[in-house]
Symmetry: C3
């Protein structure tokens, strides 16, 4: 494969640890190949991006992954539903209007879908 394209989908708070391990393992496995890897969080999973919630967020792992090129994305519908203030979020999170639409568009662009 000339470029690995993957979207990870998470909508449960309790799955973040597994998801971050999955992404780390994937990065190790593809070695120095090109990639576009996105983590799309919707529903309650977006709370993990909120620094004011006491969720034991593994920020150091997320920053390592972000520095390697992983994109962390939040669904804006979910931010609204969970009353999350954008200025309280980790600064490197991208926001899309609708997470489910993002999942559809990425797959139409040839991204593999993985739901840990």
């Amino acid at each position: 494969m000339s470029e690995y394209k993957v979207v990870f989908h998470i909508d449960e708070i309790g799955k973040w640890k597994l998801l971050l391990a999955n992404v780390s393992n994937l990065l190790n496995a593809i070695e120095d190949k090109k990639f576009r890897i996105e983590v799309l969080a919707n529903a309650e999973a977006v709370k993990y991006y909120d620094t004011t919630q006491d969720l034991d967020t593994d920020i150091s792992t997320m920053e390592v992954l972000k520095d390697k090129g992983i994109e962390f994305v939040a669904c804006n519908n979910a931010l609204t539903a969970n009353h999350i203030e954008k200025h309280n979020m980790l600064h490197f999170i991208n926001i899309v209007p609708a997470g489910v639409l993002e999942l559809v568009e990425k797959q139409s662009e040839g991204y593999a879908y993985i739901k840990p």
Copy 2:
């Protein structure tokens, strides 16, 4: 994209509220574009279609979505395994012989797969 094609997969009763919100959010996001969106329920999730079970089914939201063009589908293997009588089901549910085969065929037709 000229047409959005998506199959939502649900096999857990407890995920229906999230799934219906996901579908509603997707419909809002694609605005007036063309779409084919199917909700495929198998395993215990088909019980939600049974009007004789006391599952607090959100029929009004389902009818709104159905009227907008969303297809709700049940796996017949799951109906049998859960002893569901077809005449007790919501009248607008389509039935396929095998839910997993439906998921395979839809993806081969270019549908994105989303598992809330």
Copy 3:
């Protein structure tokens, strides 16, 4: 479809019974068509392959499926993380270095993705 290609993803121990039923139902539904069906287990789900753990593994169903051509695969990262000795595993399990990479590669080869 000339050939059905499907990868089932499992990362939770509690989903094995459902997954094996899904695979059996799929095999029944595709009748005598050609297929390549793989079950990819990562995270804690690989424990199910370990004969020394008391997990009530449904070996007879797995052997029937294996004899019909289903491939059962384990993620090596997950085997290491769960301290599973390879000589204790069911003998027909294949091992890949990284389960998530396997999921990406299969989808790039046209496999449908199903997460029970």
